[in-house]
């Protein structure tokens, strides 16, 4: 369920690093807790984000959750398909429903994040 090559936050985001770019999303656990997701608010390309800072939010009918960035850097791409199909976040949160891609400014930050195994323990699975 939780890919071994991802790193995870206590706020239920994941990051997958390839070279200098990290892809950020929310975990399956998070989408499950939120219920049917109806809207995703993402930053603009070019925005600078920092680890632990807000990078956007996801909404269900009756709740809003901020998304906290697992890493610092500059947003280089956003998943604009989610604007029309927010339900993808419920269906495939670790895959094509990624949220943003970030050019990492401090690649070492990921060391502070949880491994898949730690995350599974953290959420009690």
């Amino acid at each position: 369920m939780y890919p071994e090559d991802f790193r995870y936050t206590k706020e239920h985001e994941w990051v997958s690093v390839a070279g200098a770019v990290g892809t950020i999303g929310i975990t399956d656990h998070a989408q499950h807790e939120l219920g049917d997701i109806v809207y995703v608010d993402l930053p603009k390309v070019g925005a600078t984000i920092s680890q632990g800072g807000t990078v956007g939010s996801v909404e269900s009918v009756k709740a809003v959750s901020d998304i906290y960035s697992p890493v610092s850097g500059e947003v280089v791409e956003i998943n604009s398909a989610l604007a029309d199909t927010p339900e993808k976040l419920n269906e495939n949160p670790h895959g094509d429903a990624w949220l943003v891609k970030v050019k990492l400014s401090a690649p070492d930050e990921i060391k502070s994040l949880m491994s898949a195994e730690d995350y599974r323990k953290y959420i009690g699975e």
Binding site: D36, V38, Y39, E59, S60, V61, K62, P86, E87
Partner: protein, 496 residues
């Protein structure tokens, strides 16, 4: 078993736009007694519109049938108990509707000469005095249009007083049980919000609070009785603590129905508060408004009240005073929701001082009676004495697979409007029940029976509850689809 209802037929009805047909009319204007004016000449061709695309074209008969049919799709206090916690859905006396339509009042223009507005100004002044007496405060403004508007006014007043003392400060403390309007208001007033955790009995924890009360704190926004319907046992200690640091205490008056005639916020240290006339003073909710949110203050805050203020001359004539150098300014045009004020005054007059107290006593009796009947079947997470409402949790039912929202939907089949669902946030899966004083024993018994019956249904056949309501003309609606692809206006089908 369902005792209160039996299904009956309701009429289908399309949208007004779908029954429109060119040339149908529901109006007739008097013959024009002055020469007609060519609009394109008077206004310029570019300023004149084409016909209003899609606008209704229906006859008078269709208008009355349309809205009458739609009205039958609503639940209402006139049909029965409406136990929404924090909303105080009580009977709306019809005399109030009649007097609000008194010709000299309903047709009074806000700019007509003061000499020809003395009756309206007198009503305003009398209501201000009565609300000051009821709250134990020194002055009242009737300008705010609703509770949240009153909150904004009240917090602006606090800020203005602190500013006049040299420092507006930075933070407002808000208990985690508060209404969402409180933190939203704090933001509009330029304050940061510090949430205060309630203790395990549902009260504001004095020790926790003490840690947060610093010279940076402008004040505390407190709801008393709190949203779990309990009277803050340490309220005077709380207000003393804030005052000792030069901070102020704002009270959200949403739950004033528990206090009128029994206790006064002004007497337990509150500096500024709002009232919801559409709750405590029974002006009709009307499907979401209008309301009125008067703000009552202690003397120190009075110079900052919104303009204009009423002034009485030596000859006993009223005038509006606009010359208030320390005012926070207007919070709306004119003087407030006067028509709502008229209704509230009529309500107070009908009760009198003693009647208001009796109403409070019955409101608290009703809530405690329901609590007693329901306690064996539902979890009561906070067992401090209840005032005007009681709050249960769905923890027992969740184990069987049904949540508070499911039970609420099933209550509809039993002929009741649901209680407030999932609020306050400090209660997991809250069922927040406020019966108000205008319910008789029979209606309360039926309601308790219904909820108890639902609790049993959950044990026997949870699926039936999860799919409720079964007997309404509209079954559960897909709110997710509505939010994902918002359709917020009708369009002709060709266009859609």
């Amino acid at each position: 078993m369902i005792k209160k209802t039996r299904p009956h037929i309701t009429q289908n009805e399309p949208l007004l736009f779908e029954i429109s047909s060119p040339g149908k009319k529901g109006y007739q204007l008097p013959e024009l007694d002055v020469p007609a004016v060519d609009a394109t000449k008077a206004l310029g061709a570019g300023n004149v519109r084409e016909q209003i695309e899609g606008f209704p074209e229906v006859s008078e008969v269709e208008v009355i049938r349309h809205y009458t049919r739609l009205s039958t799709w609503n639940y209402a206090i006139d049909l029965g108990l409406y136990p929404l916690g924090s909303c105080t859905m009580k009977y709306n006396p019809r005399i109030n509707e009649t007097v609000a339509r008194t010709e000299g009042l309903a047709w009074a223009h806000p700019y007509q000469p003061e000499e020809l507005s003395q009756g309206a100004m007198e009503i305003t002044a009398v209501l201000e005095d009565m609300l000051a007496e009821i709250t134990g405060m020194d002055a009242v403004t009737l300008q705010p249009a609703a509770g949240a508007h009153g909150e904004m006014t009240g917090i602006f007043l606090m800020r203005a007083l602190l500013q006049s003392q040299g420092n507006p400060r930075k933070t407002l403390l808000i208990p985690d049980s508060a209404h969402g309007t409180n933190p939203a208001t704090a933001t509009m007033a330029g304050y940061a919000v510090q949430n205060i955790k309630s203790n395990d009995r549902g009260f504001v924890d004095l020790d926790v609070l003490a840690k947060y009360v610093t010279e940076d704190v402008a004040g505390l926004m407190i709801t008393n009785p709190s949203t779990i319907g309990v009277f803050e046992e340490n309220i005077t200690k709380i207000t003393d603590l804030l005052h000792s640091k030069g901070a102020l205490v704002y009270m959200d008056g949403a739950n004033m129905n528990a206090l009128v005639g029994m206790a006064r916020p002004g007497d337990f240290g509150i500096d500024v508060m709002h009232l919801n006339l559409h709750k405590t003073f029974s002006t009709p909710h009307g499907g979401g408004g209008p309301g009125a949110g008067p703000v009552a203050v202690k003397k120190a805050l009075e110079p900052f009240l919104p303009t204009p203020r009423l002034r009485r001359s030596q000859e006993n004539r009223w005038s509006w005073d606009y010359d208030r150098p320390q005012t926070i300014g207007r919070v709306r045009a004119f003087y407030g929701n006067f028509g709502v004020l008229v209704r509230a005054l009529a309500y107070i007059m009908a009760h009198g001082g003693d009647g208001l107290r009796r109403a409070t006593m019955d409101a608290v009796l009703n809530a405690n009676y329901l609590r007693k009947l329901l306690e064996p079947y539902f979890d009561l997470p906070y067992n401090a004495p209840s005032m005007h409402e009681c709050v249960f949790s769905d923890t027992r039912q969740v184990k069987q697979g049904a949540r508070t929202g499911d039970m609420a939907k099933r209550l509809i089949d039993y002929g009741f409007h649901p209680y407030t669902v999932s609020f306050p946030l400090i209660v997991p899966g809250a069922l927040m029940i406020e019966p108000t004083e205008t319910e008789g024993k029979r209606e309360l018994d039926l309601f308790a029976d219904a909820l108890i019956s639902i609790a049993k249904e959950i044990e026997d056949d949870v699926e039936h509850v999860l799919k409720a309501p079964h007997l309404t003309r509209t079954s559960r609606v897909d709110e997710t689809a509505a939010a994902r692809k918002p359709i917020v206006r009708w369009k002709p089908s060709a266009e859609a």
